[in-house]
């Protein structure tokens, strides 16, 4: 077992993990953050996407020990208290989710996108979401949700 210190959703975590433990298994298991989902075996579906030091990362493809000292944000850490993140609000407003299983990954990938590119074109949103699969929505309302969130966040900055 390897000692591991990291910060998850602003909370310090001090634990030990097996060398083979994936970040997703640490999150879903010992940390009980089950909003991060496993949908495939091959890093294709993106349902497991979290932010590691601000970068969107597929947590099924990262060893937990690779997050040593990192700041990890999961979908549970996005809202500020009772105030939803603009992306979470926008996915609800725009019907950007149906079964909701891919949604945490979609939201986290989009959060990374908007942090780097606050006013993306539709094509840039689509490109950013290439690694996230949704089987329900056909993506149309997901892209609309990301654009609404971009507008909301731009308004909050102004």
């Amino acid at each position: 077992m390897i000692p591991l210190k990291l910060t998850v959703n602003g909370r310090a975590v001090d634990t030990t993990v097996a060398p083979s433990t994936l970040l997703i298994d640490l999150l879903r298991g010992p940390l009980a953050l089950t909003g991060t989902h496993a949908g495939c075996d091959t890093a294709q579906c993106g349902a497991c996407t979290v932010l590691v030091n601000g970068e969107s990362v597929k947590s099924c493809s990262l060893l937990a020990v690779q997050a040593q000292g990192a700041q990890v944000t999961t979908v549970e850490g996005l809202a500020k208290g009772d105030a939803l993140h603009p992306l979470q609000q926008a996915f609800m407003d725009c019907h950007g989710l149906q079964c909701g299983f891919c949604t945490p990954g979609m939201v986290m990938t989009s959060a990374c996108l908007l942090a780097k590119n606050p006013s993306p074109s539709d094509a840039e949103v689509q490109h950013a979401l290439e690694g996230n699969l949704c089987r329900c929505t056909g993506y149309v309302k997901i892209v609309a949700a990301v654009q609404q969130a971009a507008t909301t966040m731009a308004g909050a900055q102004a």
């Binding site: 089950t34 949908g39 495939c40 075996d41 079964c99 089987r135």
Partner: protein, 786 residues
Amino acid sequence: MNAPMEATRFGSGQSVRRIEDPALVTGQGRYTDDETLPGQLHLVFLRSPYAHADITGIDTSAAKGMPGVVAVYTGADLVAAGVKPMAGVPFPRPDGKPGATAPRRALAHGRVRFVGEAVAVVVADSIDQARAAADAIVVDYNELPSVVNAFDAMAPGAPALCDDAPDNISAGMAHGNVAAAAAAFAAAAHTVSVDVDNQRLAPSPIEPRAVSARVPADGPDAGRLVVRLSSQMPTAVRGGLADAIPGLTTENVRVLVGDVGGGFGMKTGIYPEDIAIGYAAWTLKRPVKWRADRIDEFLGAVHGRDVVSRAELALDANGKALALRVKGYANVGAYGTATGIAIQVLIGPWVSTSIYDIPVIDEQFVAVLTNTTPTGAYRGAGRPEAIYLTERLMDAAARKLQMDPAELRRRNMIRPDQMPYTNAMGQVYDTGAFAQILDQGLDLADWNGFATRRADSQARGKLRGRGIATFLEWTGGNALQETVTVNVTADGYIELGSATQAMGQGIATSYAQLAVDVFGVDIDRIRVLQGDTDRANGFGSAGSRSLFTGGSAVSAASKKTVDDAKALAADALEAPAADIEYKSGRFTVAGTDLGIGLFELAAKQAGGRITATDGATAGGPTWPNGCHVCEVELDPATGEVAVVAYASVNDIGRVVSPTIVEGQIEGGAVQGIGQALCERVAYDRETGQLQSASFMDYAMPHADGFLGFKTKFDTSIPCKTNALGVKGVGELGTIGATPAVVNAVIDALDHAGLGAAAEAIQMPVTAERVWRALNLKQFDPSPYRA
């Protein structure tokens, strides 16, 4: 002050934020794998690497001795324990003999018949321990010749999958009148024919299946098998477990379903895995959980479609269809099931004449066993296959008669004055104004402005094509009855208990809106309780049935609750029941200011609640229909196909939740586009290996697709066979999109100079196929080989 209050109530017909969503966007959903049972063991399946082989021995001794291993079971163990095989085929073969299939067992016994069939399970303290032990199981296989294609399987000398069907024909069905059709074809001014491979698909909800099972030692469920899983049909799972596992009855099995991460038909009914897990927990009396890996899903979850057909249409000189002839060979996989076979030989044919007045049919379907994963329900389930044929034939006929494809369709449409209309399969349509839908569809798509857009594409070096599909579908699964129990609670909630099942389609929100219509309270007062066989049992959610059956029951049970509560209010207010009025959560005595709130009244009752149960039975299926128009651009340099316009007008009767149904149509259409352009389950013909066993190899639509859907609903044609006037919506988009897209591609190829030869192109219409067609005038050989 009324307006803002009404705005928060959100009755039917209004766009509302879904009540499901706050939990799902914050990561608080409760999918099966999110729950960890105390003392939980982990189960993994060992699956066959061979498509067809005799199991000559299994040595589990090493696996059993490995760290953390609690149990290892093989097919032989389950047979010895009396675990029964799953249900067989209820349809006869074309020769009149009973339908044939080898017995499907939870774990293969003696022989494996497809790659991925489960042969053993390991139960261990951790997943890693279970996986390591599964690797240590030694299975001796004697490999047998295999077959993965229906025509290969029917060929003389092909390996047989079961003794009762040396020709591998599991079942078959013939519909219509062979002689009448032959006469119509002989006399016809025009005939057209298409050979079509409706290729095999993987339904692929993003949540893999997960099952947990436990036998509590104490508490209310002491001694019962409690199974939690991701399913559209909890009651069917309960029945399947009770049938298979000795010692179980429907009374001592409880099936729970939490959030379901997509179903699309794939999570209907019971799976062999469910039985194996139930058996392990029941035998060990310890909690056991399994979560499928994606490869488990590609290998072990049902596949959809997979039928090769020759379809022919006879027409008179004016383009009026006289007869439809279809011969179809469905590859139903290694084991025949009622669902997998009915979809192809019966349910598809029900809609094969679609919205057209085609008096004569001759349809013959054969279900063939092969060494592939068994097929089952996938969004549309038979209707996409049938409608695709009909819509391809309509376009082929228009091309031959040099008519506008919309005009040819119009000439053949059933008129509203023919309703109720009985089609050639004996199915009765209650309503439909198909020409009215067509007109709106053409308008929305700017059908007549196409030439300008084609010229514009041409100027950019692209080949533009236009495709149309006008069609209907059958919904309801012929399970037309539902019951709902309403509980009004003292703490201020109205609970609706239903045996239908949420799976992402938003049914809880739609039910809540219907309850708001009756109770006049804010939507946040409504809670929808599903997924517990101790509370409600029924068919579950499949076949786009939930709203018109379950929603009608919500309405009926809500009204009964109010009526029953009026008597309670009369007691509480010491007034005659006839004088009690109800409005917006409050009972009043007419003409006075005496009154009592609904929840206050509930608090006064024994148990602190008002309970009422009522149901509704629809008078028949619903027949949603639509006009979908697609435009594509082909890149002649690469063969790439891009959807560049998509307009649809849909008749789903009355609309309860406008945003939700738009999401159903558009999300469904993208699945249909997936079949048209990219998805295919591929098996190696020699080895029977599944070649498309991951999301790297199975090409589902990604986020880079088309965004500009124009989607409208004509709500002026309510369904007449259910109380709400609604028609099913879940599968409509998927059914319409596939032919609309492929017809558009063929139109573009035709216009590029290939003419009617373009009709030979097969799905998925990949860049390679388009490029070869355009540049080499080369098409795949016909998939039809009968």
